[in-house]
């Protein structure tokens, strides 16, 4: 059987599985639609949370990013796992005890204010749409590379699948499909990782392989060898990194706190039966996430080593098949600057910008580019970082079914996250805006219908963003985490741990954090003249990726000051806080 046939079989089989689960787990009430009836086993919920959390970016892009960033890639590893400690210890059990359906629900009730609820809805929608556009793009990439389907059709197929189980099943359908998707994606991630670790080090466990010696008789450790080859070629050492310490610190913190404030992650903890289950569930979620997150740095390092060894100083005519495959897909490019027919890697860019191929072939058979030259660097090879995970099985020469598995895994990661995001968007519209703010008399049936319509509309917007990705999508992923850290996290945290925090303080704080972070990221990522997004221009040397931390501190500062000079919250709110702080129902 050809690899292509295998890919079709794996992908179609996984889709049939998801649809089957969706039909079995239909939602019949708003409680089932929003929080799966509140009866999900904590370990099952942990698994669903892991699938919800690990997006196309975690599955496809993260190992590639780490491969090229080396130590600096740690910001993603610590940032996207450390947030679960904050969730489990500081937020999840209390929000579960509060026992409503959405994050704005909590903010609205705790700060006795419809305005606070609406501000929370705005933050939530902005964060979630930024995120979902990336998922749909991931679906498109997997379809076009592995199934030879045009990106548009790929996105439409992905949308239809999500439509089916998100609209029909609500949170209940999503929860159980996410469990299946977790199994598919983790299996798809680990199998090639085992193979590659074994090939390079003789130890099949990637976490141990990365700390072992290379299998080539040199006696060098993997990281030693990688450091050595990279330094020889003029790069910085893999284990050192090049970002400043304050920037690494702030990016890590912004990602951690942002994770703890992401609405689609928080609502997953509303689905377990009790407050104590929310803690347990967060622990299990992190176990399932860590399986991938401790494997990713090994995959990244192995991929870099493999890449360097098979490309550097190799004649193009003898380049491995995968190199030319991905060149055909526009994701790898080579420009023979010194005209020796060999490919050289070095620090710096091969040429300016993304590759723009002409129809002509060069004398070695390579595709000719029309990009402006970047002749200040000896580097001749352009490589899109996203291909590291997708191309790994080919680079390591693994069998066709492993490649098919990776395709199904990438789709599972993208679809599961997209579904979780769609749900929080639709529930914030039908529940927070309609039921709780503008149409309080809506019936249960009407609200359920509104939730389904909102989910449908959100799917169309997400699909549109996936087919016509606005240029800013890749630029503003920092927005999602920065805004969640600067706006939602402090409001929820103070709502639980401070009895004095009041409506005025919380609203002023959220708006300050939101606006400051929005303007800072927007300025450097979108509006500032090209070339000015550099450390010298940044506030305290903190990049837009890390600025959410400063936004959060401003939020805390403004909120506490304003609360000091305005009236304390009413006595009912004090009772509410006393109630959510203890697990026992009274």
């Amino acid at each position: 059987m050809t690899t292509q046939t295998l890919i079709y079989i794996f992908v179609i089989a996984s889709f049939v599985l998801y649809i089957g689960i969706a039909i079995w787990a239909r939602a019949t009430s708003t409680r089932e639609f929003y929080v799966a009836g509140g009866g999900v086993n904590p370990i099952v919920n942990g698994m669903a949370t892991a699938a919800d959390w690990m997006s196309a970016a975690s599955f496809i892009s993260m190992a590639g990013l780490i491969a090229f960033l080396g130590y600096d890639g740690s910001v993603y590893l610590m940032g996207w796992t450390g947030g679960y400690v904050m969730l489990a210890l500081l937020l999840a059990p209390y929000l579960r005890k509060f026992g409503q359906y959405t994050v704005p629900d909590f903010i609205g009730a705790r700060y006795y204010s419809k305005a606070a609820r609406v501000v929370a809805v705005i933050c939530l929608i902005f964060v979630s749409f930024t995120y979902i556009a990336g998922q749909m793009r991931g679906v498109g990439i997997v379809f076009s590379r592995f199934l030879d389907v045009p990106i548009t059709l790929g996105v439409v197929i992905g949308m239809s699948i999500v439509f089916f189980y998100a609209v029909l099943g609500g949170m209940k359908g999503i929860t159980y499909t996410q469990v299946a998707q977790y199994c598919v994606l983790i299996f798809a991630y680990l199998v090639p990782a085992f193979f590659i670790s074994f090939l390079i080090t003789g130890n099949p466990i990637p976490q141990l392989g990365l700390g072992s010696t290379v299998n080539d008789g040199s006696g060098l450790y993997v990281l030693q060898k990688l450091d050595q080859s990279l330094v020889d070629m003029g790069f910085g050492a893999y284990t050192h990194g090049s970002k400043s310490m304050i920037d690494v610190f702030c990016i890590t913190a912004a990602l951690m706190i942002g994770t703890a404030g992401l609405p689609h992650v928080i609502v997953r903890f509303f689905t377990v039966p009790k407050a104590s289950d929310a803690r347990k569930s967060a622990g299990w979620a992190l176990v399932f996430i860590a399986l991938l997150y401790t494997t990713a740095p090994a995959v990244g390092a192995f991929a870099r080593l493999n890449f360097v060894e098979s490309v550097h100083q190799t004649e193009y005519s003898k380049a491995p098949a995968w190199f030319k495959n991905w060149e055909r897909n526009d994701l790898i490019a080579w420009r023979d600057k010194n005209d020796d027919g060999k490919m050289q890697l070095a620090k710096g860019d091969a040429f300016a910008g993304k590759p723009e191929f002409t129809e002509k072939d060069g004398k070695n058979g390579e595709r000719i580019l029309s990009n402006d030259a970047a002749d200040d660097s000896a580097n001749e090879v352009y490589v899109d970082r996203d291909i590291m995970v997708l191309a790994n099985p080919e680079i390591a020469g693994l069998p066709g079914w492993v490649i098919a598995l990776v395709a199904a895994g990438g789709l599972a990661a993208a679809l599961s996250t997209a579904a979780g995001l769609l749900l929080v968007i639709s529930s914030s519209i039908s529940h927070d805006l309609l039921k709780q703010t503008f149409r309080p008399k809506i019936t249960e049936k009407g609200e359920l219908l509104a939730a389904r319509l909102a989910a449908t509309a959100a799917i169309f917007v997400a699909g549109y963003l996936g087919i016509y990705p606005p240029g800013w999508v890749a630029q503003v992923v920092a927005f999602a985490f920065g805004l969640a850290a600067a706006s939602l996290f402090p409001a929820i945290f103070m709502g639980i741990f401070s009895k004095r925090m009041n409506r005025e303080g919380a609203i002023a704080g959220m708006l300050t954090g939101l606006i400051f972070t929005f303007l800072y990221i927007g300025y450097f990522k979108l509006w500032a003249p090209a070339g000015t997004n550099i450390a010298d221009n940044w506030l305290f040397g903190i990049s837009p990726e890390g600025i959410g931390v400063i936004g959060m501190l401003l939020n805390f500062g403004i909120a506490i000051t304003v609360a000091k000079f305005t009236a304390a919250p009413p006595p009912e709110v004090e009772k509410l806080i006393d109630n959510i702080r203890v697990p026992r129902q009274s």
Partner: protein, 90 residues
């Protein structure tokens, strides 16, 4: 009645202060392994190694994640005991 309520209030306060103490300890460890060992003291720790990993690099890409998991489960177990002690478990 009033006495009962006062007692219940005291119990809640004691429970909450036990919780905050535990949180203080665990969040400090959380900070030390990630921001401390993985970032601030990473260069210094890199002179030691664990297998082929420089120690600071190991904390940043592996160790901190393992400690995070342990922290959550320790909290889960300790909180269970604290809640039982005050009769506030669910």
């Amino acid at each position: 009645m009033a006495e009962d309520e006062q007692k219940a209030g005291e119990k809640r306060r004691a429970y909450w202060s036990d919780n905050l103490k535990l949180l203080g300890i665990l969040m400090s460890i959380w900070f030390i392994v990630s921001f401390g060992a993985g970032i601030l003291f990473r260069s210094w720790l890199d002179q030691f190694s664990i297998g082929g990993y420089p120690l600071g690099f190991w904390f940043a890409q592996q160790g901190s994640i393992y400690v995070f998991i342990i922290l959550i489960f320790v909290y889960t177990i300790r909180m269970r005991a604290i809640e039982r002690k005050y009769g506030l478990d669910d």
